[in-house]
């Protein structure tokens, strides 16, 4: 896992909104320290990830050291520390996919997107994650892009997956521009 969560990061507008929402939610939660993990889970469930500052806020809520909250959160694989991208890419590294070269596929995505596993691209378009067996081992190696399963993925297919998303984005943008033009001329 590569993360720079320990260093202070710029909090962007989207993140600030998440943090503001958490600040409103937190007082509603129990202060019993046994609830620490469930509270982290709730935050992740609601917002998709645990922003750095949210762990500091949770620590203050339970009156424990932030180092402890960070230690607990990073111990479990279920927590994310970066916002999910609009196109979350999950590379399967379950046994079958691992044997069929899932690592190589993950590395291809890493290089193509310029982010490490567990990270999100600057424009929040893509996030990259590893998962363990998505239940269709016969199609290994498997990658889940958004809701869609990509089967028998090869390095050349990695490029294809990204290109497809880019093309769709472009089409959507052109449609939008056209719509706007139409509504302008009306």
């Amino acid at each position: 896992m590569s993360d720079n969560i320990e260093q202070d990061q710029e909090v962007d507008l989207e993140e600030q909104q998440v943090l503001d929402a958490i600040a409103v939610e937190l007082p509603g939660f129990s202060r019993d320290v046994h609830q620490l993990l469930p509270v982290l889970q709730k935050i992740q469930h609601t917002h998709g990830y645990l922003p750095r500052d949210s762990m500091v806020m949770v620590a203050a809520h339970f009156a424990v050291a932030a180092a402890k909250v960070f230690g607990i959160a990073t111990f479990y694989n279920q927590f994310r520390f970066n916002p999910p991208g609009r196109h979350p890419i999950k590379v399967c590294l379950g046994t079958a996919c691992h044997v069929k070269g899932g690592e190589i596929i993950l590395e291809n995505f890493t290089r193509r997107l310029g982010i490490e596993e567990g990270e999100t691209t600057q424009d929040r378009e893509y996030s990259l994650e590893r998962v363990a067996c998505v239940g269709c081992c016969a199609l290994a190696p498997v990658v889940v892009v958004g809701e869609k399963i990509e089967s028998y993925v090869t390095p050349s297919k990695v490029e294809g997956v990204i290109t497809e998303i880019e093309i769709q984005n472009e089409i959507a943008e052109r449609e939008k521009a056209k719509d706007e033009q139409q509504s302008d001329s009306e």
Partner: protein
């Protein structure tokens, strides 16, 4: 535990008497019998027994046991230098140094590092040839604390710093983070506003670290400057 009750046991043929309830490792160390150890601290009630270096053989027990978590018993017969013990210690040591880049001369702990001491005692090199050297994929220094620097590639994850900090503060300013091969010590936000200043700069963690993984920033800077001067001289 009654204070005065003494227990007599035999270690490597030597008879020693220590107060009841003493941990075997402490009993040996206090009586001049050295056993390699990293993760034990005097008077720990529940030693983590995680470094696996302090193993000894106790007559009547089938396998070697970590002496840090064994309490002394009357009439106990202990051997600290058997082949089985040495084999296990050497394996544990190899695993510990398999991530060590071995640049001792550039380290603040040089000459008083526990790993160097144990290497000498076990006649082992600080870079093992038997196991593959796997460097940790981590930065050389992590500076998320305002005045303490942490060097993850030197850290042997003994947990002594976490223990003393919790003792000192009744809470942790630092703790383990992540897991498995990626485990580190982290100060995450320990001096952030609103979280309370958990770290009191008491330097307990820096002083207890058996290797040179935790240091005060200014002291380390001064050391590096000195070193630089020596090298260029």
């Amino acid at each position: 535990m009654s204070k005065d009750r003494m227990v007599t046991l035999t270690v490597d043929g030597l008879e020693i008497s220590v107060p009841q309830g003493t941990k075997l490792l402490k009993a040996c160390l206090d009586n001049g019998i050295y056993i390699p150890n990293l993760c034990y601290i005097d008077d720990m009630e529940h030693p983590p027994a995680s470094c696996r270096l302090c193993l000894v053989e106790i007559e009547g027990r089938p396998d070697p046991l970590p002496s840090c978590s064994q309490k002394v018993e009357d009439g106990m017969v202990v051997h600290t230098e058997t082949d089985a013990v040495r084999l296990l210690q050497k394996t544990a040591f190899r695993l510990l140094v398999s991530t060590n880049h071995g640049k001792c001369r550039l380290c603040m702990a040089n000459k008083h590092c526990a790993m160097q001491q144990i290497a000498k005692f076990l006649h082992m090199p600080l870079r093992t040839k038997k196991l593959r050297y796997i460097p940790k994929d981590m930065p050389e220094v992590i500076e998320d604390h305002p005045c303490i620097v942490y060097e993850p590639n030197k850290c042997v994850l003994c947990g002594r710093c976490v223990y003393v900090c919790s003792r000192q503060n009744y809470d942790f300013a630092l703790d383990f983070a992540r897991r498995g091969f990626n485990t580190t010590i982290s100060f995450f936000g320990s001096q952030e506003e609103g979280v309370g200043d958990y770290c009191r700069n008491c330097r307990a963690c820096v002083d207890i670290c058996p290797v040179g993984a935790l240091n005060f920033k200014d002291e380390r800077d001064a050391f590096l400057q000195d070193l630089q001067a020596k090298i260029s001289a």
